[in-house]
């Protein structure tokens, strides 16, 4: 579903952030990326969303190469690519429901969403997505009043409203307590399975990766260190990711 080939990014100051990076995430699969600070994990996600323009390489989303697109075509292609961050990034003064429905904005005509808001069926869908993440009863509440774990689940519901085929998650549990972190990871895993979404998740918590990932990709200095099914990933290999960075 998501296929990255030969992705390289060199910053103008000459620093190489990604070098010939490749990975594949199939529909229904949860792939976790592990790596130290500055190893290129976030850069990878930013390249896939095309917030950063890679120096070379291809990013295939289904049958579309995102690297070959720009402007309106890129915006349309990106509709199938949803993202959640460490912070939920909700519009705090809007209701939980409209925050979720915001995820569907890109699919609707501009004029109507500007003046009349979203069509009723999208609000229905938004309620379903809220129920999916277990927050149906908070629909009318202001997003600013939620706890960190709840807000992150709303962010995931917003991503679902986008009806994505690929979901990227950049340290989605970094600011959550252990219990909330487990809940979010369980949710991502369940969504990957039931909605057939390809989930690519950057994590710092090695234990969570072992528990929830189908495959683990180790990244070190912008290069792939290993790309293995979860069961075959050794503790030494993971430790190696972090030791090298400290030196």
């Amino acid at each position: 579903m998501l296929r990255v080939c030969g992705l390289s990014l060199r910053y103008p100051n000459g620093k190489v952030a990604l070098a010939d990076f490749g990975l594949t995430v199939e529909a229904g699969e949860l792939v976790v990326v592990l790596g130290g600070n500055g190893s290129g994990k976030t850069t990878l996600l930013r390249c896939i969303t095309r917030t950063l323009k890679p120096t070379s390489g291809e990013i295939w989303l289904g049958n579309t190469d995102l690297c070959a697109l720009a402007g309106e075509k890129l915006r349309r292609a990106r509709l199938e690519l949803a993202m959640v961050w460490q912070h939920a990034s909700l519009v705090r003064r809007s209701s939980v429901l409209s925050n979720v429905a915001n995820g569907a904005l890109g699919r609707h005509s501009t004029l109507r969403t500007v003046f009349a808001g979203l069509p009723a069926e999208e609000l229905e869908a938004a309620r379903r997505h809220l129920a999916d993440v277990g927050l149906a009863d908070l629909a009318e509440q202001r997003a600013g009043t939620l706890s960190g774990g709840q807000a992150q689940r709303v962010a995931i519901a917003r991503a679902l409203a986008q009806q994505p085929r690929v979901l990227l998650a950049d340290e989605p549990v970094a600011s959550l307590d252990p219990q909330a972190a487990e809940e979010i990871m369980r949710l991502l895993q369940r969504l990957a399975r039931s909605e057939r979404i390809a989930v690519l998740c950057v994590l710092h918590q090695v234990e969570l990766a072992y528990t929830y990932a189908d495959r683990v990709v180790g990244i070190r200095q912008g290069r792939i260190a290993f790309d293995l099914p979860c069961a075959q990933v050794s503790r030494e290999a993971v430790r190696g990711l972090y030791i090298g960075e400290a030196a």
Partner: protein, 273 residues
């Protein structure tokens, strides 16, 4: 000399030697003398003569005596000017908000489409504030004649200065994470604006506008003095006709208007927060 033994007896930082101390004291003395001189020249320039105030106090007392009791029979005739004064402020604030909003978007560093637009709108905002509302009123009087309309326009244009700057600051200090998140969902720019930016900043913008309305009501009173009509003009007329009992009534009404506007604006802003 001391420096040679520094390793065994390090000098404390900030404790100057003899010469340094003398210089510091001298600088302080000069500064104090300068401050006194500034105050004294101000007293001379404003021709401050407290004795005049003491000998003239009987005149004030006489005026106040003649203004008492307020002539409440004139109350019905104050209704229209009062409405005019409040409406000039309301109109001015609306005009100000309508002009300031697009200017603020151009003048916010995180929204502006180009550096030129940024500097141009900042310049316009600065100009409208630098020229006092009375001068704007005189300008508009030459265009549309005397009356409440030029007063309202003057308040509107002058308000742009404060509204534009505060709006732009609000937009600049906005949390951009939700905005970037919406952009990445594939929403168009205008959709991001309506569903991300507007709900985030609207309460602050309304609060600032209400605060400005409160200030504009006070300015509207003053503009009445120079011909914009309203209760300020009625006050001036009553003064010129020596109708001091009416003057006192009008002052009471002004007091009530200003206080009501202030409390109302504060209460509304509190609800928005």
């Amino acid at each position: 000399m001391n420096l040679n033994v520094a390793p065994t007896a390090p000098q404390t930082v900030g404790e100057p030697n003899g010469w340094g101390r003398a210089v510091t004291i001298a600088v302080r003395c000069v500064l104090i003398l300068l401050s006194i001189a500034v105050v004294i020249q101000a007293l001379i320039v404003v021709e401050a003569r407290p004795q005049d105030l003491i000998t003239g106090v009987s005149g004030m007392a006489d005026l106040i005596r003649r203004a008492m009791p307020p002539d409440f029979s004139r109350l019905p005739s104050t209704f229209w000017p009062t409405l005019q004064t409040v409406d000039i402020a309301l109109f001015g604030t609306l005009v100000g908000v309508v002009i300031a909003l697009p200017l603020a978007l151009l003048a916010a560093a995180n929204m502006t489409p180009s550096r030129y637009a940024y500097y141009a709108s900042r310049a316009i905002i600065g100009l409208t504030r630098a020229v006092p509302d009375l001068v704007w009123a005189l300008l508009f009087v030459t265009a549309v004649g005397l009356g409440p309309f030029p007063g309202g326009l003057a308040l509107g244009v002058h308000s742009v200065g404060m509204l534009g700057r505060l709006f732009a600051e609000t937009i600049e200090h906005m949390d951009m994470a939700p905005i970037h998140a919406l952009e990445l969902t594939g929403a168009r720019r205008i959709q991001v604006f309506c569903h991300g930016i507007v709900p985030t900043i609207l309460p602050s913008l309304l609060g600032i506008s209400l605060y400005r309305l409160d200030e504009n009501i006070r300015s509207s009173l003053v503009l009445g003095f120079v011909g914009a009509g309203g209760i300020g003009f009625q006050l001036l007329t009553a003064m010129n006709l020596f109708q001091y009992q009416e003057v006192s009534l009008l002052l009471i009404i002004i007091f009530v208007i200003v206080l009501t506007a202030e409390r109302l604006s504060a209460a509304l802003r509190e609800r928005l927060a």
